[in-house]
C-alpha cells in the first residue's frame, strides 16, 4: 500500500512539473491530466473512492477536455510554442518558484511539527460523503452552488448575441 502511495505521489509531482514546463500547451494538458489521475489514485488509496472517481470524472474528464477544447479552438502553431519558450526562461519563473519554495517549507514544517496525518480511518463510502455534504457542510454546499449559478448566468450573458448580430 505504501509503495503504491509513493509511486502515485512521485508520478503526481513529476507530471505536474512536466505540465508546467512543456512548451506545447496540449502536452502540458496531458501531463496535467496524468497528475490528476495520480492524485485520484492517492485518494483511492486513502480510502476515498468516491472522491477519486469524481476527481477523474469532473477534473480529468470534464474540465480538462474543456481546456483542451479551448486550446484546439484557439489553435497553437509554432508561434505559441515559441511564446511559451520565452515564458519558460529562468528570469520569468525564478521569482514565483522562490515564493513557492517558501510555502513548501512552511508546509513541511507544519507537517513535521504535528506529525503525519493519522492513517485513514477505513473506507469512506459514497453514503458518508453524501451525508456529510447535506449535514454539517450544507451551508458550504449551498454557498458553492450560489457561486456556480452566478458563474452560469455570467456565462450566458457573455455568450449571448444581440439580435441581428452575425453569428
Amino acid at each position: 500500500m505504501n509503495a503504491l502511495f509513493w509511486l502515485a505521489a512521485a508520478v503526481a509531482v513529476l507530471s505536474t512539473a512536466l505540465a508546467i514546463s512543456r512548451p506545447s500547451p496540449v502536452r502540458g494538458l496531458v501531463y496535467f491530466v496524468v497528475s490528476l489521475l495520480a492524485v485520484a489514485v492517492i485518494f483511492f488509496l486513502l480510502g476515498a473512492p468516491f472522491v477519486a472517481a469524481f476527481e477523474v470524472i469532473l477534473y480529468a474528464g470534464g474540465i480538462m477536455v474543456l481546456f483542451l477544447f479551448a486550446v484546439m479552438l484557439l489553435g497553437t502553431g509554432p508561434d505559441a510554442v515559441a511564446t511559451e519558450r520565452q515564458a519558460l526562461r529562468p528570469r520569468t519563473w525564478l521569482g514565483p518558484a522562490a515564493l513557492g519554495l517558501v510555502l513548501l517549507a512552511e508546509l513541511v514544517v507544519a507537517l513535521v511539527r504535528r506529525g503525519a496525518a493519522a492513517a485513514p480511518g477505513g473506507m469512506v463510502g459514497p453514503e458518508r460523503v453524501g451525508l456529510a455534504l447535506v449535514g454539517p457542510y450544507l451551508l458550504a454546499v449551498e454557498i458553492a452552488s450560489m457561486l456556480l449559478v452566478a458563474a452560469l448566468v455570467g456565462a450566458v450573458h457573455l455568450g449571448r448575441r444581440e439580435e441581428g448580430e452575425p453569428r
Binding site: 479552438l73 484557439l74 489553435g75 452575425p166 453569428r167
Partner: protein, 571 residues
C-alpha cells in the same frame, strides 16, 4: 423577322441576322454597345430577358461560308425571357488577336463563370471582370483549347512528360490563397475535395471557416473536364451521339434528345410518332433513374445509410427495362438522327407496366422513410434557400427553379419532341430551400410515371425512324437494289451525313435542369461548333451565395440538394 419589330431593333436599329438562326432571333451587336444592349434587355425592355441562359464563343476562322459581318471570332449571348417565353441571341464579332468585350458580371452575377470559361477556352478578355482566371483547364495550361488552331488529339501535342519539377509546379499552381485573419476571428481554410465523399465526384471547394461556420466557399471545377465540345468538332454528326450520354452521366438518353432535336432542326427531319413516344418513354425512365440516385445519395449525405440501397435496387428495375430495349444500361446511345436505333422488343410493355405498378408503393415508402423523417427535415428545411428572382439571376433551371414556386418546365412551356401530347403536371414548392428541391424531385417521379403509363397505353404504330436521306444509319434495303442508293448509303455510313449549313439551338428539360445544345453547321460531315449548355454549371456557381453563414454539414446538404453531376458541370 417578326411582325412587330423586335424591341432591340426599335431601340438600337441593330442589323438582325435572319438567315442563320432558325428559331432564335439573333442580332449582331458592336462590342462597344453590348453592355448597353444587355442592360436594356434585362432591365428596361417590357417583359424583360431576365436570365442569362448561356454565354459562349465561336472561333470563325475556318468557316467556309458564314453569313453576317466579317469576323474572326464571335461571342454569343443567349438570353431567356420567362415572361415572353422567348429567347434572344446576341452576337459580337471580335478579332482573334487579343479579343476583348466588356464584362456582363455587373448585370448578371452568373456571367462570371461563363466569361471565365470563354476566356479559358477562346482567350477572349472580358474587360472589368473581377476575377478572370481559367476555370476548366488547369492554371498552367498553354493556349485556349476551343480555338481552331489548338490541337484536338493528344497525338498532336507531343509526348506527355511529367518530371518531378513539373508535377511540383502543377501542384503548387493549385494552392489556394489562405484568408487573412480578421481582428476577431481566425479563419480556417479547409480544402474540401477534389476527393471527398460529400462532393459526389471530383469537385474541389475551398472553404473559409470560422469554427464550423462558412465564411466563404470557393468552388474549383474542371477536374472532370473532358473536352466534350472539342470532341464534337471532330466527330461526325452521328458518332457524337454516345458522347452526349456521358455529359450528365446519370441522365443517359435525356442528353441525346436536345442534341438530336437540334440536328434534326438543321436537317429538316420530321421524326415519326412512334419514335417520339419511344424517346419520351426512355427519357422519363431515365429521369426516374436519375432522381432515384439523387434521392438515395442525398439521404446518405445526411447520414441515412439504408435508403440508397433500396433506391438503387429500384433504379436497377428501370435499367432492366432500358437494357431490354437498348441492350445497354446507363449510356445506351439509343437515339438516332431521325428516330431511334431499333423498334421495341417483344414484351416490352409488360416490363414497363410492371415497373409502373411497382413504383408507387416504393415511392410512398420512401416518403415515410426519408421525406417525413424529422431529422431529415431539420437538416434540410431553410437550408440553402433562394428566391425565384435570385434563381433567375443565377441562371437556375429545373427542379431548383420550380422549388421557388415558379412552374417553369420546358416540356410544358416549349413542348419539344412530342411532349404536348401528354398529360402531366409541373410540381412546384414554395420555400426554395433544400427540402423544397427534394419535394419537387419526388413529385416529378410521380409525374414521370404518369407519362410512362401514357406511353405504354398509347404507343403509336409505324416506323421508328424517319425516311429521310440524312437519317442515320441510312436504310439498307434499297442499297442492295441500285448503285446510286448503295453509294449514298456507303457515304452516309463511312463519312456520315452532311448536315446543311446553319445553326440551331434546342433546350430541353433534362434531369438536373435545362440542357441545351447550340450547334453550328458549316455544311460538313461534322459540326463546326458544338456548344453544350448544362444546368449544373450555373447551379454550382451559385453555391457560395447560398452557403455563406451556414455550417459545413449544411454545405453537404446543399450539394446534395442541388443534384449536380460533375461531368455536367465540367463537360
Amino acid at each position: 423577322m417578326e411582325a412587330p419589330a423586335h424591341p432591340i431593333v426599335q431601340r438600337f436599329a441593330a442589323r438582325a441576322v435572319a438567315d442563320e438562326a432558325r428559331d432564335v432571333p439573333t442580332f449582331w451587336i458592336d462590342a462597344a454597345r453590348i453592355h448597353e444592349v444587355l442592360t436594356f434587355l434585362k432591365d428596361e425592355v417590357e417583359r424583360p430577358y431576365r436570365m442569362l441562359y448561356d454565354l459562349t464563343a465561336i472561333d470563325e476562322r475556318m468557316r467556309r461560308a458564314a453569313p453576317g459581318p466579317p469576323r474572326e471570332m464571335t461571342v454569343v449571348y443567349h438570353l431567356l425571357s420567362l415572361e415572353r417565353n422567348q429567347d434572344v441571341r446576341l452576337k459580337v464579332a471580335v478579332p482573334s488577336e487579343a479579343p476583348a468585350v466588356p464584362t456582363a458580371t455587373d448585370i448578371w452575377p452568373s456571367a462570371s463563370w461563363y466569361e471565365r470559361e470563354v476566356w479559358d477556352m477562346f482567350g477572349v478578355k472580358f474587360d472589368g471582370h473581377p476575377d478572370l482566371r481559367r476555370i476548366l483547364m488547369p492554371p498552367t495550361w498553354r493556349g485556349h483549347p476551343l480555338r481552331k488552331d489548338h490541337p484536338a488529339r493528344a497525338t498532336e501535342m507531343g509526348v506527355f512528360e511529367l518530371p518531378d519539377e513539373r508535377a511540383q509546379a502543377e501542384e503548387e499552381a493549385m494552392r489556394s490563397a489562405e484568408r487573412e485573419p480578421t481582428d476577431s476571428t481566425r479563419i480556417l481554410t479547409l480544402n474540401l475535395g477534389p476527393q471527398h465523399p460529400g462532393t459526389h465526384g471530383v469537385l474541389r471547394i475551398v472553404l473559409d471557416l470560422d469554427g464550423e461556420r462558412i465564411v466563404d466557399a470557393r468552388p474549383d471545377i474542371g477536374f472532370h473536364h473532358r473536352g466534350a465540345e472539342k470532341m464534337g468538332e471532330r466527330q461526325s454528326w452521328h458518332t457524337f451521339i454516345p458522347y452526349t450520354d456521358r455529359i450528365d452521366y446519370l441522365g443517359g438518353v435525356v442528353n441525346e434528345l436536345p442534341y438530336l432535336l437540334a440536328v434534326e432542326a438543321l436537317a429538316g427531319i420530321e421524326v415519326p410518332d412512334r419514335a417520339k413516344v419511344i424517346r419520351i418513354m426512355l427519357c422519363e425512365l431515365f429521369r426516374i433513374a436519375s432522381h432515384l440516385v439523387w434521392y438515395g445519395t442525398f439521404a446518405q449525405d445526411l447520414g441515412a445509410l439504408s435508403p440508397v440501397f433500396y433506391m438503387f435496387t429500384d433504379r436497377e428495375r428501370a435499367f432492366q427495362i432500358v437494357e431490354a430495349i437498348c441492350g445497354a444500361r446507363m449510356h445506351p446511345g439509343w437515339f438516332r438522327i431521325g428516330g431511334v436505333a431499333q423498334d421495341l422488343p417483344r414484351g416490352w410493355d409488360g416490363l414497363v407496366r410492371e415497373f409502373c405498378e411497382h413504383m408507387p408503393d416504393r415511392l410512398r415508402e420512401y416518403d415515410r422513410m426519408v421525406m417525413k423523417n424529422p431529422i431529415f427535415q431539420a437538416r434540410t428545411r431553410g437550408i440553402g434557400a433562394y428566391t425565384t428572382a435570385q434563381a433567375i439571376e443565377w441562371g437556375v433551371t429545373g427542379p431548383g427553379l420550380r422549388a421557388t414556386g415558379l412552374g417553369w418546365d420546358f416540356r410544358k412551356k416549349r413542348p419539344y419532341g412530342g411532349y404536348d401530347h401528354f398529360e402531366f403536371d409541373i410540381p412546384t414548392a414554395a420555400a426554395g430551400d433544400s427540402y423544397a428541391r427534394a419535394e419537387v424531385r419526388v413529385a416529378e417521379m410521380w409525374q414521370s410515371l404518369r407519362i410512362i403509363e401514357q406511353c405504354v397505353n398509347d404507343m403509336p404504330g409505324g416506323p421508328v425512324k424517319a425516311d429521310h436521306p440524312l437519317a442515320t444509319p441510312p436504310p439498307k434495303e434499297r442499297a442492295l437494289h441500285d448503285i446510286e442508293a448503295l453509294i449514298t448509303h456507303f457515304l452516309g455510313v463511312s463519312w456520315g451525313p452532311v448536315i446543311p449549313a446553319g445553326e440551331a439551338f434546342c433546350g430541353v428539360e433534362a434531369t438536373k435542369g435545362s440542357n441545351g445544345y447550340y450547334l453550328v453547321s458549316d455544311g460538313d460531315v461534322h459540326p463546326y461548333r458544338v456548344r453544350i449548355r448544362t444546368p449544373s454549371f450555373p447551379h454550382m456557381q451559385m453555391l457560395p451565395a447560398i452557403s455563406r453563414g451556414l455550417m459545413v454539414s449544411d454545405l453537404v446538404t446543399i450539394l446534395g440538394s442541388i443534384d449536380f453531376v460533375l461531368a455536367d458541370v465540367d463537360r
